[in-house]
C-alpha cells in the first residue's frame, strides 16, 4: 500500500468524534433503558427498580395502543403515497425541459424548509373556520356555508390530515433519491428496450423497476425512519388531539415523560420505537452490502 497506514494517528484523530457520539448517543440510550425499568419522575431524587412495571402499565393504556396504531398507519400509509407519487415525479422530472430548475426548487420546498414551519402552513390551510379547502368545497356547492368538515377536529379527518402532511413532506426527498437512481442507469438500457419494441409501460415496469429496487428500498427505509420517529407534524397540527386520536409514540412519550413528568413511562414509550429501528437498520445494511457486491 502506497500511503503507509498509521494506526496510532488514525486512532487519535478518530477518538474525539467516537467519544462524543458514545457520550451523547449511547449514554442517553442506556439511561433511557435504565429509566424504563425504574420509577423515575422529574423532581424525584430517589430511584427504585420496578422491573417490567412501566411496560405493563403502558401496554394497558388505551392511548399507548392508539399511538402504536397511528405510528404504523402514518408510516405505512405515507410511504405508499410517497413511493407512488415520487416514482411518477422522478419520471416526469428526469428529462431536461425549460424551467426545470425552478420546478425542482418548488417541488423540493416541503423537504428543505423546516417541517415545523411547513406544518404551521398546513394548520392554516386546514383551519376550522377559514380553511381554503373548505372555501373551495363551499364554492363548488359540495358543502353549505359553515358546514364544511373540521379537518383537524374530527378523529378520522385529523388522521388523514396528518398522513397527508407526512406524505407531502417526504415526496421531495424520495423524488430526488429516485431521480439519482434513474440517472445512474446507463442510457443504452432503455434505448435497447425501445429498439426491441418495448413501450413506455413495459420499459418502466419490466426493465427499469427491477433495476431501481435497491434505490427504492433506500428511499423507503429512510422515509420509514423519518416518519416513524417524527413528533413535529403531530405536535403542531393537532398536539395529539382530538382526544388523543392522532397521538404517535414520540408525541405520547413527550406528553407523558416531559409534560407529565413521568420519565419512566416516557422512556418506556420511546423505547418501543427501537424494534422497528433495528429492523430498518438491518435492512439498510443488507441493501448497502448487496450494492457493494454486485
Amino acid at each position: 500500500m502506497g500511503a503507509a497506514q498509521s494506526p496510532a494517528l488514525g486512532a487519535v484523530m478518530l477518538a474525539p468524534a467516537v467519544l462524543y457520539i458514545l457520550l451523547l448517543v449511547a449514554g442517553p440510550f442506556l439511561l433511557a433503558i435504565f429509566y424504563a425499568f425504574s420509577d423515575a419522575r422529574i423532581g424525584n431524587t430517589e430511584l427504585h427498580f420496578v422491573g417490567l412495571e412501566n411496560f405493563r402499565s403502558i401496554l394497558q393504556s388505551p392511548s399507548f395502543r392508539i399511538a402504536v396504531r397511528n405510528s404504523f398507519v402514518f408510516t405505512i400509509g405515507s410511504q405508499i403515497v410517497v413511493i407512488i407519487v415520487s416514482s411518477i415525479l422522478a419520471i416526469v422530472l428526469e428529462k431536461p425541459f425549460r424551467g426545470r430548475g425552478v420546478i425542482r426548487f418548488l417541488v423540493l420546498l416541503p423537504w428543505v424548509a423546516p417541517i415545523a414551519l411547513g406544518a404551521i402552513g398546513w394548520k392554516w390551510i386546514l383551519d376550522s373556520i377559514y380553511s381554503v379547502i373548505s372555501w373551495v368545497l363551499v364554492a363548488l356547492h359540495l358543502y353549505k356555508p359553515f358546514s364544511a368538515p373540521m379537518w383537524l377536529g374530527e378523529p378520522h379527518l385529523a388522521i388523514a390530515s396528518v398522513l397527508l402532511v407526512h406524505s407531502w413532506r417526504l415526496i421531495p426527498f424520495s423524488t430526488v433519491i429516485l431521480l439519482a437512481g434513474r440517472t445512474a442507469i446507463p442510457k443504452d438500457i432503455p434505448e435497447a428496450a425501445a429498439v426491441d419494441g418495448a413501450g413506455f409501460w413495459r420499459t418502466e415496469f419490466l426493465i427499469l423497476l427491477p433495476m431501481m429496487m435497491p434505490i427504492i428500498s433506500v428511499a423507503v427505509l429512510f422515509g420509514t425512519i423519518f416518519t416513524f420517529t417524527d413528533m413535529t407534524v403531530v405536535y403542531i397540527l393537532t398536539a395529539g388531539g382530538p382526544f388523543d386520536s392522532t397521538q404517535v409514540l414520540p408525541s405520547l412519550a413527550f406528553t407523558v415523560g416531559i409534560q407529565g413528568s413521568d420519565l419512566a413511562a416516557g422512556a418506556a414509550i420511546s423505547l418501543s420505537l427501537v424494534p422497528l429501528l433495528v429492523i430498518v437498520a438491518y435492512l439498510m445494511l443488507r441493501v448497502a452490502h448487496r450494492a457493494e457486491v454486485t
Partner: protein, 282 residues
C-alpha cells in the same frame, strides 16, 4: 403517422399536466404563506371573501408587527448563533475522524464507519427524555448551550459519512508527495487535504446549518423562555397568544425563515443525496 403524432402530443400533455399538478400541490402551502402575509385581517377573516385574491389593499402590517412587536429577530439571531457554533464543533470533530476512517484505518475503520452511520438512525425522539435530565444536571435548562452540546450528536455522524466520501476521492499520490517533501502525515492532512476539500467542507457546513434550523424536538424540550427560542419553536409556540393565531404574522414568519434555508439546501442537494444513497447508486 397521424396516430403516432397525436399519441406523442397526448404524452406531452400528460407530462405537462403531471408536472403542473404535483408542483402546485407541493408548493401550495408556501404560496399560501405569501398570500396570507400581505392580506389585511379584515380580508383574511371574512368568510365570504374569495381567499385566492386580494379583496382589500395588500398590507405590510403583519411584517411590521413581526419585526417590531415580537421576538422574531431575536429567534433568527439565536438560530444563527447556535448554527455557527454547531458547525464549528462539527467540523472540529468530523474532519479528523473522516480522514482517519478514509485513510488511516483499514478493515476495522470500515466497521467503525458503518457504526457511525447507524447512529444517524437513532432519532432525537428516542433520546430526549434522558437528555433532558442530563441537561438539567449540567444546569443548562433554557440555555442555547444545551442545543450546542447536543446537536453535534446527530450532525457529526452524517458529516463524517459525507467527508469520508470526499477524502476517499482525493488521489493518494498528493499526500505521498507532500510527505516526501517533509510534511508529517498530520501536516499533510492540515496543509494538503483540507485546502483541496473546500467544496466538501462547504457541503458539510450547509448541511449542518440546515439540520440545526430544522430541529424541533430538543429545542422544544430544553428551551422554555420566549427570549431563548429557535425559529422552529418560537414561531409555533410564542407567536400564538393564548388560543389566538395571528395568521398574517405567523405565515410571514414561516416564509421569511424557510426561504433562505430552502435556497441554501437546494444548492447543495445533490451532494447530500449522494450521502444518503451510498452504495445503492453506482
Amino acid at each position: 403517422m397521424q396516430t403516432s403524432l397525436s399519441a406523442h402530443a397526448l404524452r406531452k400533455m400528460a407530462h405537462v399536466l403531471a408536472i403542473t399538478l404535483f408542483t402546485v400541490a407541493l408548493a401550495f402551502p408556501f404560496y399560501w404563506m405569501v398570500v396570507t402575509s400581505f392580506k389585511q385581517n379584515v380580508d383574511l377573516y371574512t368568510m365570504e371573501n374569495n381567499p385566492f385574491v386580494f379583496n382589500a389593499r395588500p398590507t405590510l402590517d403583519h411584517l411590521t408587527f413581526l419585526f417590531t412587536h415580537t421576538r422574531f429577530v431575536r429567534w433568527l439571531g439565536n438560530t444563527t448563533f447556535v448554527g455557527v457554533v454547531v458547525v464549528s464543533v462539527t467540523l472540529l470533530f468530523a474532519l479528523p475522524a473522516a480522514y482517519s476512517l478514509a485513510r488511516l484505518s483499514g478493515r476495522w475503520g470500515e466497521r467503525v464507519g458503518i457504526g457511525i452511520f447507524l447512529t444517524y438512525l437513532v432519532p432525537p425522539t428516542l433520546l430526549f427524555i434522558p437528555l433532558s435530565r442530563v441537561i438539567a444536571y449540567l444546569g443548562l435548562q433554557d440555555s442555547l448551550w444545551a442545543l450546542i452540546l447536543v446537536y453535534p450528536s446527530f450532525t457529526v455522524p452524517f458529516s463524517i459519512w459525507l467527508l469520508m466520501g470526499f477524502f476517499k476521492a482525493i488521489p493518494r499520490e498528493l499526500e505521498d508527495a507532500a510527505m516526501v517533501d517533509g510534511l508529517t502525515r498530520f501536516g499533510a492532512f492540515v496543509k494538503m487535504v483540507i485546502p483541496i476539500s473546500t467544496s466538501g467542507i462547504l457541503t458539510v457546513v450547509i448541511f449542518t446549518f440546515t439540520l440545526v434550523t430544522q430541529e424541533f424536538v430538543y429545542a422544544l424540550t430544553f428551551l422554555s423562555s420566549e427570549a431563548n427560542q429557535m425559529i422552529g419553536t418560537g414561531i409555533p409556540i410564542f407567536l400564538v397568544r393564548g388560543d389566538v393565531y395571528y395568521w398574517g404574522g405567523l405565515m410571514a414568519a414561516c416564509l421569511i425563515a424557510s426561504l433562505p434555508i430552502a435556497l441554501l439546501y437546494n444548492l447543495f442537494l445533490d451532494r447530500f443525496i449522494a450521502g444518503f444513497t451510498v452504495g445503492a447508486v453506482k
